[in-house]
Amino acid sequence: MRIDRTHRSWFIASVTILIIATVAYIPYALFYPGGPRGNSLPGLAYGVVGYGMMLFAGLLGARKKVPIWRIGRAQTWMRGHLWLGALSLPMILFHAAFAARGPLTMVMTVLLYAVVLSGITGAAIQHFVPRRMFLTAPQETIYEEIPNVRDQLLAEASAIVDKLCAEPQAAALAASSLETGRTTVAVVEEADEILLSDEERANVRRVYVDEILPFLRNPDRRDSPLSVSVEAQRFFEALRRQSPPAVHESLRDLESICSEERQLSRQRRVYFLLHGWLLVHVPLSITLLVLGGIHALVAIRY
């Protein structure tokens, strides 16, 4: 989610709540008999409010599981998650009076910092990275479709090379199967214009098998010259210099296929960045909520 002008009201409300909480904390911290602590009335109030904010933030995951339930727009829940989740940190710190007096509370404090920090990181990622994806992967597709698209690109590249490297008769037959009402001689004459000599055919096939095909089969590998756009450009320029002009268009098609493969690889990496941080944030948050609940029960009971 981009943090933009539309968050202004949430920002103002959060800052207001923070200011009020801080203003209320100062005299409590300075003048409360016995000093500020978690089990004092104000301390409990801060704790309940802070835990309530964390709970609401944690419910976002559940909200996403029921997308069509009319319990508030997902956008509202997300904004609440961001701002109330961030506010929960000072609330809990005020509750604990900036101290951790036991192993459980120590762990919880560390977890709280980790969750908020990972959350802020995630918010930053989701603020900046979508635009990056938009700019660097204009041909992006649905993530789950990437393997299918890759299969199609591979098939397309193979078809281009097969056509380039086909024997004259085979090419004519292939072309004539698509044309009706044309003589085979005319087709063969036309086909001869795009065919290579035996040596050139062998060269194209060798380059395809040795360099292009391995890359297309495993586009995420970094050791191929085709995995970097500048080097790929040089590679194809060199190939074009070695090849007759008639095949340059086919080589450009192969080049654009490789370019699309690189974009898909880029898309995968960016996608992992966009969603991978949740692998840290979500387990930590669940742990924190569970421990918070245990802490509350233990504190009430004992």
């Binding site: 989610m1 009201s9 976002l60 069509i68 990275v129 479709e145 966009l274 969603h275």
Partner: protein, 720 residues
Amino acid sequence: MKTIELTIDDKPVVVEAGTSVFDAARMNGIAIPVLCHAQNERPVGVCRVCTVDCGDKVLQASCVRPAENGMKVFTKSDKVRKHRRMILELLMSDHPSPCARQRVSGDCELETQAAAEGIVTPRFSKRISPRGQDDSSLVISVDHEACILCDRCIRGCDEIRQNNVLGRRGKGYNAGISFDLNRPMGNSSCVSCGECMVSCPTGALTNKSVIHTVLPGGDPVGVEELKQLPFFQKISGTFLELNKNAVIKRHFKPGEIICREGDYGSTAFYILEGKVDIFLSSMSKDKAGTASGPGFIEKLTSVFSPRKKSTGVRNADGTIPMDAVIDLTLDNPVAELHEGDIFGEMTCMSLYPRSATVRAKTDCVMLEMLRNVLDVIQRNKTLRAELEKNYRKRALEDHLRTVPLFSTLTPEFIDMLAHKVELVRYSKGEVLCRQGEAALNFFLVRIGFVKMVEEHPGGDLVLAYQGKGGYIGDIGLMKRGTYAFTVTALDNVEVVRIGAEEFREMVAQFPVIAWSLNASANKREEHNKRHSSAVAAISLDSFLKQGLMEANSLLVIDLEKCTRCDACVRACSDAHDGVTRLIREGLRFDKYLVPTSCRHCRDPLCMIGCPVGSIRRRNSLETVIEDWCVGCGLCARNCPFGNITMTELPNTGTQKAVVTKRKATSCDLCADLPEPSCVYACPHDAAKRVEPNQFFKIMLAPSTTDDTFVTPGSVEGGRR
């Protein structure tokens, strides 16, 4: 167009060159019996029942014989009647009389014509080898015994519906119709659209079950009752039987509103009894819709702030306020209709919102029918010509009365103008006027969109586009004498064309219009100059090429906010029994992805030709596909954006509709929910349903805030 003169049954007639003898007779009220020719199909001259004497060596099949200048045609001479009788008798000898159609609806065309010729029992013996029946289809019963090999079903399937399932098999006595490569109908690629059955003149193809159309609010009407009415006489009884409840009878009390101007709809009305008044209650200016609702904090804080005063729809004095120099009154009907009149067909035909409000003046009984029924009625060319004539007259008058530019014209001048102007239709790509040509006409856009392009040596520049309510030709007529740009239709366009002479008379008599047009022409020229030097024309061109201006409600995803979490797709799927109507893939416009999801177009091509009238609009913007869809796939093929998907649906056993292999599905804007689920479920504020003309206004005209040349949209926020 060149005309020719001939006589038919000693009656002199004048027709356009190229007209067939059959059509020449039909247009002049002379009916020639026929079996293999349906007016909406290409004539093939197979049955020879329409034989006439044209003075040639042999009798000719009138449906395929072109009329010639000076021809003398006799359709009822003894020779012709003798031949026609023989043909009918031969056909009847191979026909199981009474066939299924004759038994059910009494309108087998062969048996009706044979009876008219007095043929009771043919003299010739019946064939020995049976041709058989085919009951494999769930919807249509095939009786090869009753088939007269007229090929109407083949032409219906191949040329009208383009399903290409039906064909001919065999030769001579073994000839017959076949499905795919002579498979049983139920095992073929037949999509059960029913077109073959509608086309069949006999009981060879009849319906086995009804489509279970559910048109609410009225009583079902029997086939026998419908066949008494002139509009329905030529419609196949088996079609009417199949589409029971696609025509219902409704009763209205005096004062009751039958349909409201601006509402969407997909039905036409035929008045059986009573009178109705027609009102025009608003000018041709799109209404501003509601923006998306306030957020959480805004709702919270709005408790403390005074609410904004909402603009009312109506003034206290009963007038309708609008952005014009006058207000129109509700109590001033512009027309009255009576028994036997039809209305609402404009909405049915053009698929645009109702153009007028209709209110019952007396107790009324009328028939309400779906578009597929009106489509079949219109196959009768004579009836279609009459409907077209009424449509043009009414459309013309409505439009002239509601254009703000003409608000100062007197009713008398509008009536005079209505007789002199033309309603002209252009298909996509047709040119209305060319840059540099003498300005001879003023165009008012009634339906559709047009593109205004300035031609330059280095390449053409798209300056703007105009939709409903826009006009072209003012600069040419008022200032330059020639058109300033080339105007091309972007889709099916209808314009009111006013000739230069009438235009000049109008501006001379009504100086306010001249002043208004001069001011608008000056602004437009200034805009064009600025736009010519701006690079932003690329955006407009892309906008038009993607057809975005056609959308009433466009789903866009801001790719700078979207985290590709697919919450929108999951929500759509959850809201529609696991079948998503949204695919998060499509073209891009600027930073927005335009996913594959119904755009609820102004000109919904998907609705054209639905054999059962199931894809339609009810009273609101949303395109809905009703339960009785038969899964023929025509709407999916018609949609230029690929937004309709054919989905295999399981037969739960509780479906009221005919069991089919698949059904069409598309976005219905979650009509039964306050907000589309995809937008509701997006956590990142990336998915929006917008009215694209408004939403992209700034981007398309960066050098001006003037919205004169980008037609204001009808809906803000995507929902009316």
